[in-house]
Each structure stands twice: as structure tokens, then as C-alpha cells.
Symmetry: D2
Subunit: 255 residues, 4 copies
């Protein structure tokens, strides 16, 4: 069972009828709903205006993969909660940042860059191309698929070179974008995926859902942390080199 | 069920009693045996002196992951069989190259380099360090583990920059090595792992076994090839841009 | 002084008046001409139908960077010459493959993949985006530039993950492409650049010229090979560990 | 002319006679001195206890490459100055972090990770291996070189996968380390290099000096920023697709 928490700032849907018409119960529930159709996933939700943004330490400790959607409310996310999320990622929680979460505090913290890009919102169509079809996140995804309308996000996307480039997005107006990319930080795996403007309903798209579902499986940590965190002080010089005795050890440790 | 074929040149064991004492039924059977303890894996074997080196088209078509061990017999492997294996890798078969398979025809074909390295065989001890503990191949592997004796393989290993660097090996005599690395070629995933000299019995080591088993799971293809191979001619310009009509199409295709 | 050899199959220009009208003295001379405007570069040419394709050992030994343009004549390039070029690349000669050289024997040898792609030739326009503006090859290149007409090359380009992704190409008809990428093999640096169809005169484009010129500077080897090739037998265990004496050294070496 | 500023916390040298004996004028001057022997480099210094740590906006604006050495004083570096340095890196200043600067605020900000590692200080010897001899930073550096004494830094080094792995360090006691690595952030290039403990005088080592000097050349920005920063608002849909007119443009921009 993979425990997912879908976080959404949940502001557009409450304040803009046009958005509410697309996602009546909010983007977070739209995502949690299709994830919960998978018997191996149990997805809950959390939003900005809940106490602690819904991200208490207990919630995070019981989350394998956190999904993040934010836009107009980035600045309202408290630095303390961002730090808490960041530490959980370093300790192995997966993180999936969607669409305008490219500009969230947590994504900037993880990338160490500005994460700036070009954008244009004219109901433009996008074609997403699969660049790495062998990647687990691309499992079952066709060589390309279309989104009839999406906000254009264009290069240069100011990010570190991704660990993996899985999808590239083509926009009709002349731009393109590294639309599906991965990073590792600490023991955590991170996936950024570009589609998901609040107006266009692309979280109902079959391929978008497939990709997010695949990313949940991929981002769930597979390693056993304990030896890395406990009882793993640096050893004295190895047993085979015990003749090293130049001077009494001054000090050794792990930080 | 993952269908594995373990290929071994099977020469040392037949001609050198000291090696036969370590691997009485050959390296291939030692590997197949521990893999077959996993209920999800069905491992068979193939060797150099069988007809077609045991690698008929039918065998390869029914192999999800091929494991390769070779050393003194590299030059005896026929170019035709190497081409057959290569094409299967491009079409999605996983490949795991062990130890002196760094110098095999198939590994050189895949890397496009000389794959040269330093070596020294003095019963030296090795410590293998886990560099990427989040990688599925490192699942359950400790921060480091020891091999009491192994042949030293040292840098500079003349290979392309690996897609992923999972393990580094430290040798007592002063050398180190990129001991666990991955590549993708076509639709196939490749893992190279350095331990496994014919004299030292390290295929009985618990961590070596764990790593090879993890690599089998990782290398098995997860994608659906069909749309990439059939009915996937390049489209005419996309439906949203059908106003393109500068000139009659001269030609288009896919190669 | 950087010594460049521009190799061109030189077939289209000799047989198709429409191509000859674009490149009257051949693509090779068009490229050599603009390179020779740089006082630090001395560019010569070589073509398919010359003896040894113009690529004698002496020519290659006196070439710092080889530029390759081929298309309809790939199969006519002799395997022996390809091997000779390949060995020079491994020993430090830079290599720049242009446009349909994606399918040349030398590029496939270096990548270890099929190098297949989608293509369409309808006088389509392309926009090239600079993804890594800090790369020396992108020096002075704007965030994007236009080519009014170019042959469409589209993903999935079946190549290994590039060491560096510098440019992405957007095509009006709905496709995109990793248009400027690098690899290292042995001691050689390789750059692939997608523009340059024989019909469209893009080797006269100011930005295309700037990129190829930058790539010449970048691909020229900066390292001193000698210690890697001569007198660099693997050492006995290091001086600080000379107490290693478990057994007489059986053997050591370098391959 | 490359303008370098060498920053050093300059605490050990002022408070510990044993360190002062090694670096009488401080580590910063030891580094600036050998850099200033190069006619193309002009190196100044700055230290923690100067006003603004010696890193005024004017100093940074006139610095092409900043070198950073810190250890016991990491926490005393003001967040405001770190932010100032960080912004300059994003805008194109090179950054070279040495030894215990792995734990500096600026390096953690750039990597987005904990940057933890193992360490042991027993006058242990280190062998540094050149993994990427084609890299400009490795120009003239032998296949390996020895440091008679250095503080051991061992894996797992908790960092993002480097853009380039140039050097690996072997330590006698059984550890190894990714000793020379690069990153890009924004328009800035970053090099981390592991040697340089305050006690061991390795900044006088010929190869260490060569590597730092090479890194200065490499880290100096080569690109022309202006088109990226000024007059580079996202364009309206491109001229070739001006028939796009589905709806009036709602908005477009660049962030």
C-alpha cells in the first residue's frame, strides 16, 4: 500500500467559478479520486487553509509520496512547513510537483535555482513526447499524446540538469519544455510534471493520470534507511588495514 | 515471472581445477541457483561451447534479462551471435554484464568505447560503497560491504559516463573503480557489476547476490513496445496545424 | 591553431542541380569557408569519392576536429575508414556530426544505438531553443533563433542519454528534437547538431555557423595524453601500503 | 583577465599556531598567491571578520570566480551575504568550494541537500584518480597523484548526482569520495574539490594548484547574458503560426 497525500492550495477553485466548474471538489480531490481507483494506493488530501496547511508532522510521517499543486498561494506557504516537507523528502518521502508548483518554495529549495520559465495562456494545444520510454514513469504511455488546451510553459526553464528527462512538451505557438523530469535529493525521489493548469481539466486526461500514477509507484522509496541513520558511525580504518597507526586517532565521525 | 538466461563462457571451470573447486557446476549455475530461489524468477543457462553458444533466436526471444560472464573466451564469441544479442537489447531485453565481461564484445558494442581498465590479482580485499541508496538495485544493500578477496579493477575505466553510478569499489592497494553502473540503449536497460573473479567465490556473497537479483528486477522491461514498432509511422503535421500547406508534402517517414 | 577537416559525402551537390544551386562548391567548402574566417582555425576538406575517402591516417593524425556530413552515401563509407576514424576519436580527436550524419556508421558506432528518428521534409520552419546557455558551444547564441526551412527531425531519437543537452528544436508540424547534444568516448569529445539539410542553405545561417565554430573550439582536446598511453602500467600496490604481501603477486597489468 | 576573489573564514590560522605554521598568511593568501602567478588571473581575498565578510555587492559584481574555504565558522556567515553570493552565482559568477566548504551555507543552498559525509583525521594518505581526463579542469593532471596526508572524507556524500564527476579520492583507511565534481545553477558554474584540510598544506601541492587554476578558467562565464535578462519577454506566438487566433490572448509573460 502506497500512502499518498495530495496537497493543493485550493484557492482558484474556491474563488473562481470557471475553475470550480472544471474541478468542483478541487484539484486535490480530482487527483486523489483517480489514484484511489488503484487498489495499491491510498490517497488523502491536504490544503493551504487547513491548520499547518494540513501537513502536520504526523501526516508527513505517514506519507510515502506527497503531490503538490500550488500557484497564487506560493508566498502564503509557511517557511516552517516547507522545512518540514523538505526534511521528509531528504529522509525518503517521494515528491511530485505539478504544473505551477515549478515556482513553489519546496521545488526551489530542492533545485537550488530560480525555476523561472516563459508562459502564455491562450488555450493553446500541447503535444507531449515520450523521450525515455524505458522509464517506469512512462510505462504504457504512447510515443506522444495531445492535450487540446494547456497553458504554455516554455524554455529556458531555469533548473539544474535533471537526473532523467522523460517527457518533452511541444506547444503550438513555437515553444517547447522539459515537461517530465526527475531529481534525487537525500533519500527522496522527485518528479516534476508540467501539465495541469486549473482551467483545462487535464487531470481528467487518461495519459496524465497514467503518468501521475506511475510516478507515485516510482517515487515510493525502496530502500531500508536504518543502516544509514543508526549505528552507522564512520568505522575506524578497516580491519584489513589495521596496521595503520601513524598517530593516535585525533578524531573521526559522521556529519 | 522474469525469465533470465545466465550465459557463461564456462572455460576456466572446465580446465582449471582450482576454479572448478570454487564453482563445481560453473559460474552460470551458481548464479542461476540463487536466482531460482526467488519465486518470481525462472533462470536458465547457456554457455560458449553449446551450438550457437546456447543463444538461439528462440532462447533470446524468451529471455527478459540476459546475464553475461566471459573472460578468456571473448574472441571466440561469434559476431553473428553478438549482433543477435545486441538487437534483442535494443528491443528491450535487459543485460547484466559481470566482472571481466567489461571486455566482452557485447559490452564494447553497447558502450562504444575500449572499456579498458587497470587490474591486479593478488587476493586483495575490496570494499564496495553504495553511492545511490535510492536506486532499486541498491535495495537492502548496506552503506558498504567487504569482499575479502577480489581481483582489483581500477580506474580509469574507459567507458561513457554512466547513466547512474550506484556502487564504487575501494581496493586495498590504492585503486578504486566505478563498480556498479547503468546504461540504456534502445529499449534495453544494462547494468555492469565489477565483482566476480573466477577464483574467489564472490557469487556466493549475500550482498553480491542481492545486487544481481535486484538488477534482474530492474532490467526487466516495463514498457509496451508495440506503438513504437508498429503503426507508428510519423504523422502528417498535427491536426491543430493542418493549415500548413506551403507545398505538397515531398516525403515523410520514420527510420 | 585548430586543425579541422570537414568531411562531406559530396553526392547530392554533384547530382542534383537544386542542391548545387544552394552549395555550388559543396557543403564541405561552405563549412570550411566560414571556419577559415577565424584566424585560429585552419580547415581543410575531404570527400567520399577521394581515395580512402580523403581520410588517410596522415590526414587524421593531423586533424584536431573532424566534421562529418553524410546522407545517401552512408553505406558506401568503408568499414576500415570508419574504424580508423573511430580510433582517432578514442585517442582524442574531436568529432562534429551534422544533420543526417545521425545515421552515419561512425555515429552509430559511438552511440551504440540505432539513432533512428522521425522525419518529414516539407519546407517546415524550425525554432532552436538554447537549453544550456552556460555551455561553451552556446556562447553568443540567443535564447532562440529561427530557421525558415529545415527538414523536420523528431523524437524519439534513439540515442543514449546525452552527456549534455544544449539545444532543443521545435518544428511547426508538431514535433521536437534534441538538436544539440554532446558525448565523450575515450579521450574524444563529440557534438551532434541537427540542422543542415542539403536543400535549405542553413550552413549560411549566422547562428548555425556560430554554433559549429564554438563546437570546434570545444571539441579540440585539452589534455596531455602521454601519461595515459605510455609508462602508465598499473603500479604495484601503493607505496603507503607496501606491507601488503599476502602472496607473491600473481600478475598485474593494464588492458 | 579573470577576476578571482578567494574567501576564507580565516579562523584556524588566527587561533591555532599549528595551522598558522602551515599557512602563515592564511589559506586565502596561499591560494591567491599561486593564482596570481598566472598572468591572466587577478586574485584578491576576503575573510569572515571583515565588514560584510569582505563580500560587498561591489566586490561580487567585480568577481568572475569566487573561491570559498570555510569550516568552523559556517554558522557565522550571515544569511544576507549568502543570499547575495547565491544571486551572483545564478547570474553567472563561477564558484569553487574547497574541502570543508562542502558544509557551507552557500553549497547547501546550491545543492539542495544535507551535504553530509564521513570523515576521519588521522594523517591518512589519499590518492586522487582522474576519472574524466578530457575535462578542462583535468588538463595536465596525471592519471593519479598522491597526497601524503589529508583528512579522510568518505561516501556516502549526500549530494545531488553531479553534472560531471572528474576526480575520485581513495583513502588508505578504506573509504573513497567523489572528490572533484561540477554543477550548474542558473548561469553559474560550480566546482567542488575535496582536498585542503587546514593542517596539511595541500594548497602547496602542484596538482592541487593546477586543478584549482584550471577550475578558475572553466568557471568563468562565457555567455552573453543580456538577451536572457533584457528585452526577452516571451514572444507572441511565432510569426510562422500567426494564424493562431483561437481567442484573444489572455496573458503572457516571463517569470
Amino acid at each position: 500500500m502506497i500512502r499518498v497525500t495530495v496537497w493543493n492550495e485550493y484557492l482558484h477553485e474556491k474563488n473562481e467559478p470557471a475553475v470550480a466548474a472544471v474541478y468542483p471538489r478541487g484539484i486535490h480531490n480530482a487527483i486523489a479520486d483517480f489514484l484511489n481507483e488503484d487498489a495499491n494506493i491510498k490517497a488523502g488530501t491536504a490544503t493551504l487553509e487547513e491548520p499547518e496547511h494540513g501537513l502536520t508532522q504526523e501526516v508527513l510521517d505517514n506519507t510515502d509520496v506527497l503531490i503538490w499543486w500550488g500557484h497564487m498561494g506560493h508566498a502564503r506557504v509557511s517557511d516552517e512547513i516547507v522545512e518540514r516537507v523538505y526534511q521528509r523528502v531528504l529522509n525518503g518521502m517521494g515528491l511530485i510537483c505539478l504544473h505551477s508548483a515549478h515556482f513553489s518554495k519546496i521545488f526551489k529549495r530542492i533545485t537550488g535555482t530560480r525555476c523561472s520559465l516563459r508562459w502564455r495562456d491562450i488555450h493553446e494545444n500541447e503535444r507531449i513526447w515520450t523521450i525515455d520510454p524505458t522509464h517506469p514513469i512512462a510505462q504504457g504511455v504512447p510515443p506522444y499524446f495531445e492535450l487540446e488546451q494547456e497553458e504554455m510553459y516554455g524554455e529556458r526553464f531555469d533548473i539544474p540538469t535533471p537526473d532523467e528527462l522523460i517527457f518533452l512538451g511541444w506547444f503550438r505557438g513555437g515553444e517547447l519544455f522539459r515537461s517530465g523530469i526527475t531529481y534525487r535529493r537525500g533519500f527522496g525521489k522527485i518528479f516534476y510534471f508540467q501539465p495541469g493548469h486549473e482551467m483545462y481539466g487535464n487531470f481528467y486526461n487518461e495519459n496524465v493520470q497514467k503518468i501521475i500514477r506511475n510516478a507515485v509507484y516510482w517515487a515510493k522509496s525502496t530502500f531500508t534507511c536504518e543502516p544509514y541513520f543508526n549505528g552507522d558511525a564512520v568505522p575506524p580504518p578497516n580491519a584489513f588495514v589495521n596496521e595503520i597507526d601513524l598517530e593516535p586517532h585525533k578524531e573521526y565521525g559522521k556529519r
